[in-house]
């Protein structure tokens, strides 16, 4: 097997430079690549375009990168819960492109599957359709949306092996598998890194061929955004 292991986040993001386009997995704060985000913040790489479903909160997730003004443009489906984000957006420091969540996911999938464009009904008849090709299939209109390109895709998995095979846990899966397939360079950080042969080949969510660098992260906070419980 081909060994994809790097020692830590610093080695994983080697070659990441100002102005690049990154995909970052996660939904809200669930399943986000905490270690790589910390390292990007530490390194101070700037002018980044980030493709991610959300933009974190003020003091966690992509919010940390926003706080250090490392993000030039955010491509997301929902960006609430972030005061610094609002401030930068209103002041014009930050560019934002909002796109439907399913379109976001499918444009990642398209990149990973070598399909240059996809058709989706999401956004037909709305301002999202402006400037886009609309096409009728079987009496229903669809927008043509282009596959994403990303210099780095950064994902978080539960377990991974040295060959880059990944398994996600519960709804921390979300965008991670589709983004893992879509990066020119894909980095996976995992809670537990194991030897090849320890993961069941039938149960791999992301085959190692899509992953270029993998490392075992540490100190996962896994913050909960909306803690809701029921009474006993």
């Amino acid at each position: 097997m081909i060994n994809k292991v790097v020692n830590h986040a610093e080695e994983a993001i080697e070659g990441m430079t100002d102005g690049m386009t990154l995909m970052l997995g996660g939904f809200g704060l669930c399943g986000i690549p905490e270690n790589c985000i910390s390292e990007i913040v530490k390194k101070g790489i700037t002018g980044l375009t980030c493709i991610s479903n959300n933009a974190g909160v003020d003091d966690f997730g992509i919010g940390l990168m926003l706080h250090k003004r490392q993000v030039k443009k955010m491509i997301a489906s929902y960006v609430g819960e972030n005061a610094e984000f609002e401030r930068q957006l209103l002041s014009g420091e930050l560019e934002v492109e909002l796109i439907p969540q399913g379109t976001l996911a499918t444009r990642c999938l398209a990149a990973g599957y070598g399909m240059p464009a996809i058709f989706t009904p999401a956004g037909v008849g709305t301002e999202l359709a402006e400037g886009k090709e609309v096409r009728d299939f079987g009496g229903k209109d669809y927008l043509m949306e282009m596959a994403f390109e990303a210099d780095f895709a950064i994902v978080k998995a539960w377990k991974g092996d040295t060959a880059g095979n990944l398994i996600y846990r519960k709804t921390a899966r979300n965008f991670n598998p589709v983004m893992a397939m879509a990066g020119k360079i894909t980095i996976a950080e995992v809670e537990e890194l194991v030897e090849v042969g320890e993961l069941d080949p039938d149960q791999i969510h992301t085959p190692g061929v899509f992953v270029h660098r993998i490392f075992q992260g540490n100190s996962y906070e896994k913050r909960i955004e909306q803690r809701t419980v029921r009474s006993v």
Partner: protein, 219 residues
């Protein structure tokens, strides 16, 4: 006049045995509390889960297990987890039988606006544009009028659209409407207890259609 729970309770009656249902944030979330015990329904959460259960008990929250509103949840036996592409794949392919969501405005042709107010900070459409463009069966849960007392059922939406000609049923605190997306019109099919047809008419800005005899809703 129904309260939020009343609206949720009325909507729950639309859910049939064997339905896969996607519940939006707000009133739609409350609908889960009123699904009858004698039918089998599976809740889809568009972040990648079928078989969403109730909130966890204190101390059993799992940061890796949330719903589309980012709330901690549980999974029921028979659940399945999948990625975001498959989640919206099944939504686009109409495998989800019923979608319930909120709205700021609905037009008499079934257009919906629920994601953007010009001049206010826009948080994004999340999965709403995918859901309204894809689902064959959508119910809007909303207040009949906004905080300024203006009807949210309009000849045409004034806010930026989320989707066009997609809403066929609306449940508000006053009434249940079917939307005639072809000819345009809010067809009043049920009144809330104690609400007259005239009251509903006065709170409906778009084309209003009512038969002579509009029944009161049964809750």
């Amino acid at each position: 006049m129904l309260d939020k729970n009343g609206i949720a309770k009325r909507i729950a009656k639309e859910i049939k045995d064997g339905y896969y249902v996607n519940l939006g944030i707000g009133i739609p979330t409350l609908v889960a509390n009123y699904i009858p015990d004698n039918i089998n329904v599976v809740l889809q959460s568009e972040n990648g889960l079928l078989g969403m259960g109730p909130f966890p008990f204190e101390g059993e929250e799992d940061a890796d297990l949330i719903n589309a509103g980012k709330q901690t949840i549980t999974m029921l036996p028979g659940s399945a987890v999948f990625d975001s592409a498959m989640s919206f794949g099944m939504i686009r392919a109409q495998k989800v039988d019923l979608t319930i969501l909120g709205a700021m405005e609905v037009s008499e042709y079934g257009d919906i606006a629920n994601w953007k107010i010009p001049g206010k900070l826009v948080k994004g459409m999340g999965g709403a544009m995918d859901l309204v463009a894809s689902a064959k069966n959508i119910i809007v849960a909303m207040q009949q009028v906004n905080k300024a007392g203006e009807s949210k059922l309009l000849p045409q939406c004034t806010l930026p659209l989320t989707g066009v000609k997609c809403i066929r049923k609306i449940v508000t605190e006053m009434a249940v409407f079917e939307v005639d997306v072809e000819n345009g019109g809010f067809h009043l099919v049920e009144r809330a207890p104690g609400i007259s047809v005239e009251q509903v008419r006065n709170a409906t800005a778009g084309r209003f259609i009512a038969n002579n005899d509009v029944p009161e809703m049964q809750l």
